[in-house]
Structure formats: structure tokens, C-alpha cells
């Protein structure tokens, strides 16, 4: 099973690039959802044996990250009737280039880290750093609230990859707790997105700065 680890991580890294280069928010949501599903299968790959606990975590992650959260976001988008991110702070092509450079740096940086010998071989650490970086780009340079949520999801995906290093030590409860937090976070954010949409008839978060305290 370990043989599948690197191809899966490379797929995750490529999905980062696709997500950053895509101007259609629905596609970006689907891409990040797919990324989440691929990551959900990763505990099974890392563990190597099909016990009950990794299976439970994998099933919960795939369901939540691959199906429920994208569905919630797509539904919020349908209600808000927006399609595209029009003018991100950093354009689509430059952000792809940045993410590739980030990946290169992550690969170089991961070699310098004092890691356990077992973790040096696979791409886990660089993939995690690079995904966090890509998520950060998505989160900070896009103005539509939904895109920012997707960036947050991608960032969380990166942290999830890092968690794979500790998969032997991390109790089931912590993993499920993180997933629950994520679910509640996205749930709340979709409600907020609808509220922003109702108040400003646009999902541009820059408009939020015009809110003033009433005296």
C-alpha cells in the first residue's frame, strides 16, 4: 500500500495547481472536494492494514470532505447565484506559478527538517507544506467569500496530510473532533455567506469593511 502513497500525494499537489488556476468557483469546490476524498483514503494507505479504526476515519473523512462539505458549498452558491471569481488580488496564472515555486521550496525545505527516518522518504511533509501554502494563497487573494472558504478547506487538507505523520499516535477521538470542527466551521460559514449575500447582494468580502458601528 505504501507504493500508492507518493502517487496519491502528487495527485493532491496537482489538484492544488488546478484549483488555483480555475476561475469557476464550482469547479474549484469540486476539485478541493476530490482532494479531500483522496486524502480521506490516505489513512488506509499509510496504515497498511485494514483495521476498524483507520477504516472509520477514512469513511468519515471521505463522506465529509468529499461529499457533504462540497454539497453544502455548492448549495450556498446556487442560492447566491454567483459563478466566477472575477478579479483576484493575484491573477490565476501568477498564483499557479507561486504555488509551483512554493512546492519547489517545500521540497527543498523538507530535507532540512530533523524528521524521523521513516518520514524522510515519502512526500508527506513537502506535500503538506505546499498544500498549506496553496490554500493560503487561495484564502488571501480571492475576494468572494465562497472562494475563501474553499481556501480554508485546502489549508485544512494540508494540515491533514501533516497529521498522517502521527497517524500511529493520534487517537480516533482527535481525528473525529477535527472533522467535526471543520464541519461546523463550514456550516456556519455558509450561513454567513448567505447573510452577506442578503445584506450586500454580492459576495465580495471587501464590502464588509464598509460596516460601521452604529453610535
Amino acid at each position: 500500500m505504501q507504493v500508492l502513497l507518493d502517487p496519491a500525494l502528487i495527485l493532491v499537489l496537482l489538484l492544488n495547481l488546478f484549483a488555483l488556476g480555475n476561475s469557476r468557483i464550482t469547479s474549484v469546490i469540486r476539485i478541493v472536494g476530490f482532494q479531500g476524498a483522496v486524502l480521506g483514503l490516505m489513512p488506509l494507505i499509510v496504515h497498511g492494514h485494514l483495521g476498524a479504526m483507520p477504516f472509520l476515519v477514512a469513511a468519515a473523512t471521505v463522506c465529509l470532505k468529499g461529499i457533504v462539505i462540497p454539497w453544502m458549498l455548492l448549495r450556498a452558491m446556487r442560492e447566491a447565484q454567483i459563478r466566477r471569481e472575477m478579479e483576484p488580488l493575484i491573477g490565476f496564472v501568477p498564483s499557479m506559478v507561486l504555488a509551483t515555486l512554493g512546492t519547489g521550496l517545500a521540497l527543498a525545505f523538507a530535507r532540512q527538517l530533523p524528521l524521523a527516518p521513516a518520514h524522510l522518504g515519502p512526500l508527506l511533509v513537502p506535500a503538506s507544506l505546499s498544500t498549506v501554502f496553496s490554500g493560503f494563497i487561495l484564502l488571501t487573494t480571492r475576494f468572494k467569500a465562497i472562494s475563501q472558504v474553499v481556501g480554508y478547506l485546502m489549508l485544512e487538507n494540508g494540515i491533514f496530510i501533516f497529521g498522517m505523520l502521527l497517524v500511529e499516535a493520534m487517537p480516533l477521538l482527535v481525528e473525529l473532533g477535527v472533522l467535526l470542527d471543520l464541519f461546523v466551521g463550514v456550516f456556519v460559514i455558509t450561513i454567513i455567506v448567505n447573510q452577506i449575500q442578503a445584506a450586500f447582494s454580492s459576495m465580495d468580502t471587501r464590502k464588509l469593511s464598509s460596516i460601521k458601528e452604529q453610535t
Binding site: 507504493v3 507518493d6 502517487p7 502528487i10 499537489l13 496537482l14 495547481l17 488556476g21 490565476f92 496564472v93 499557479m96 506559478v97 509551483t100 512546492t103 519547489g104 521540497l107 527543498a108 530535507r111 512526500l123 513537502p126
Partner: protein, 303 residues
């Protein structure tokens, strides 16, 4: 010796057939019967019998360009090995630079001839062609870097035969990335659909076709022939990475090469049928994507 002869014959005779296969595939997707597979040969023969018309503003550059293009692509075709066989021209260190810039020379003369006519449309086409070439060349070189890194050689023959002999776990991911990148380059350099539409009839949106509007008769035939050879050469470059195959018997290998080339033509035709052409301003995104894919493969190897 005999293999070199077969290589030469294939290089000179087979390419228009690929155009026929592409057209047939597109016709199949469109629910039409389509022109016969050998139609490109008949088109070439028809063009060769026609007379030449030259605009009074043109100079020798205009007349030389198609011939230079043909000569360079044939030379590039002699440099690249087909399948498991070695190329007719003995491979030497650094011939990948020669290979790439033979295409560069062909492009220089095509664009120079386009500018030579003094037509506004042709100038526009020339500007687009070189703009996109600026982006596809780095992708090609990053791809070559990956192959060099894997095989440890700067000669095309070793480079292209070597990579899949490296351990599967290190070589697979970069090679898949480079394969995708090379396929995009193949489509872009041969003016196929996501980048350029070879059948378009609107000068404002054409890239390659607009540059050769003023060529007529035999010279136009030479341009079409050279374009099909270019498809064949870049196709064989792509197939080295996508479908390396070596059996024990040479005859089987040659048949496999023919089959793979036809398959590639079907693939190109399918891409053309299922995709719409990209907007002109989105083409650089696609090409930069190809550069990033190849660069990414290289980064993975540096680790």
C-alpha cells in the same frame, strides 16, 4: 542500415496519413462519413500541379521560407529515434538543442515570410505564433531536463530510450507530468484545437493558417507537408514517454510504431472533437500550465 531506410521512408510518406486519420476521427464524432483517409495525399498532389502566384511586395524570403521549413523538420525527424531503433543521424551529446532550434529556425522563416508580405493579418498571426512559442519552448526544455536527469545523458537517443529503465517509483510521477506537458506542446506546436483551429476561416482568430494565406500552389503544398511531418516528429517524441514499447522482433516494433502513431492521431482528433477552442487570451494559461507540469516533474526529481 535497413532500419534507417525504413525510418526515412516512414518519415517522408506516413505523416499526411495522420492528418487523414485526424479528419476521419473528427468526421466520426460529427456523425459524417468524412473525406477518405488518403485525401491529404491527393490534396498535396493537386497543390503540386498548380501554378505559383507571388505578390509584388514579396522578396526571396517569402519563397525560401516553405523550403527551409521542410528541410528543417525533415532534419529534426532524422535526429529523433523512432521506437526502440536508433536514429539515422548518429545521436551526439547535446543534439536536443539542435533538435529544438531546428523548429525554432523553421518558425523564424515562417514568421519572416509572413511579415514579408506586408499584410496586417499575417503580421498578427506571426506575433501570436512567436508569443506562444515563447511559452512552449520552456516547457519542452523542462521536459528534456527531466529526461536528462533520469537517464544521465544529453543525447536524444539515450535520453528517450533511457527514462523508463529508472526505478518505477522515482520515474513514474515525473514522466507522467512530462507526458501531459508534451501532449500540450504537441497540440500547441501543431496548431491543433485548444490552441488553434486548423479549419478556421476567420483571419482574426487564426494563428498558423493566417501566416500562410499568401502562399499558393506547390509552396503551400510544401507548407502543409512540412506541418504534417512536424506532427509526426513531435508525436514520436511524445510516444517515447507515453507508450515506450520494445519487443524482441524488429518487424513487430515497426508495426507497433505505426499503430501508436495512428492511435495518437485518433487521440488528437478526439481532443479536437470534444473540446472547444480556447479564447486567445486563455491560451497562455494552458501553455504556462504545461511549463509548470514539466517544471514540477523536475522539482520532484531534485528531491
Amino acid at each position: 542500415m535497413i532500419h534507417s531506410a525504413i525510418h526515412l521512408v516512414l518519415l517522408l510518406v506516413f505523416p499526411p496519413f495522420m492528418l487523414g486519420v485526424i479528419n476521419k476521427t473528427k468526421a466520426f464524432f460529427g456523425g459524417r462519413v468524412g473525406p477518405p483517409l488518403l485525401q491529404p495525399y491527393r490534396d498535396l498532389a493537386r497543390l503540386m500541379r498548380k501554378g505559383l502566384v507571388f505578390s509584388t511586395t514579396t522578396t526571396w524570403v517569402f519563397r525560401a521560407a516553405p523550403l527551409v521549413t521542410l528541410a528543417t523538420v525533415i532534419l529534426a525527424g532524422l535526429l529523433i529515434p523512432l521506437g526502440p531503433f536508433s536514429s539515422p543521424v548518429r545521436s551526439f551529446e547535446g543534439d536536443l538543442i539542435l533538435f529544438t532550434y531546428l523548429f525554432g529556425l523553421a518558425r523564424f522563416f515562417t514568421t519572416a515570410a509572413a511579415l514579408d508580405t506586408g499584410s496586417a493579418f499575417e503580421g498578427m498571426g506571426a506575433a501570436r505564433e512567436v508569443t506562444f512559442a515563447c511559452l512552449s519552448e520552456p516547457a519542452l526544455f523542462f521536459g528534456f531536463l527531466v529526461l536528462i536527469k533520469l537517464s544521465g545523458s544529453f543525447a536524444l537517443a539515450t535520453m528517450l530510450h533511457g527514462p523508463w529503465q529508472a526505478p518505477w517509483t522515482t520515474a513514474a510521477a515525473p514522466l507522467v507530468l512530462v507526458g501531459v506537458g508534451f501532449f500540450v506542446i504537441l497540440l500547441a506546436e501543431n496548431c491543433r484545437i485548444p490552441v488553434d483551429d486548423p479549419n478556421t476561416h476567420l483571419e482574426l482568430t487564426m494563428i498558423h493558417e493566417v501566416m500562410v494565406l499568401d502562399h499558393s500552389g506547390p509552396l503551400f503544398g510544401v507548407i502543409l507537408y512540412a506541418a504534417s511531418i512536424k506532427l509526426f516528429v513531435l508525436g514520436s517524441l511524445f510516444l517515447h514517454i507515453a507508450l515506450p514499447f520494445k519487443s524482441c522482433h524488429p518487424a513487430v516494433d515497426w508495426l507497433v510504431i505505426l499503430g501508436e502513431m495512428t492511435g495518437l492521431a485518433v487521440a488528437v482528433g478526439s481532443v479536437e472533437s470534444v473540446m472547444a477552442r480556447l479564447q486567445m487570451r486563455h491560451v497562455p494559461t494552458l501553455l504556462i500550465g504545461a511549463v509548470l507540469f514539466c517544471a514540477f516533474g523536475f522539482f520532484l526529481l531534485l528531491r
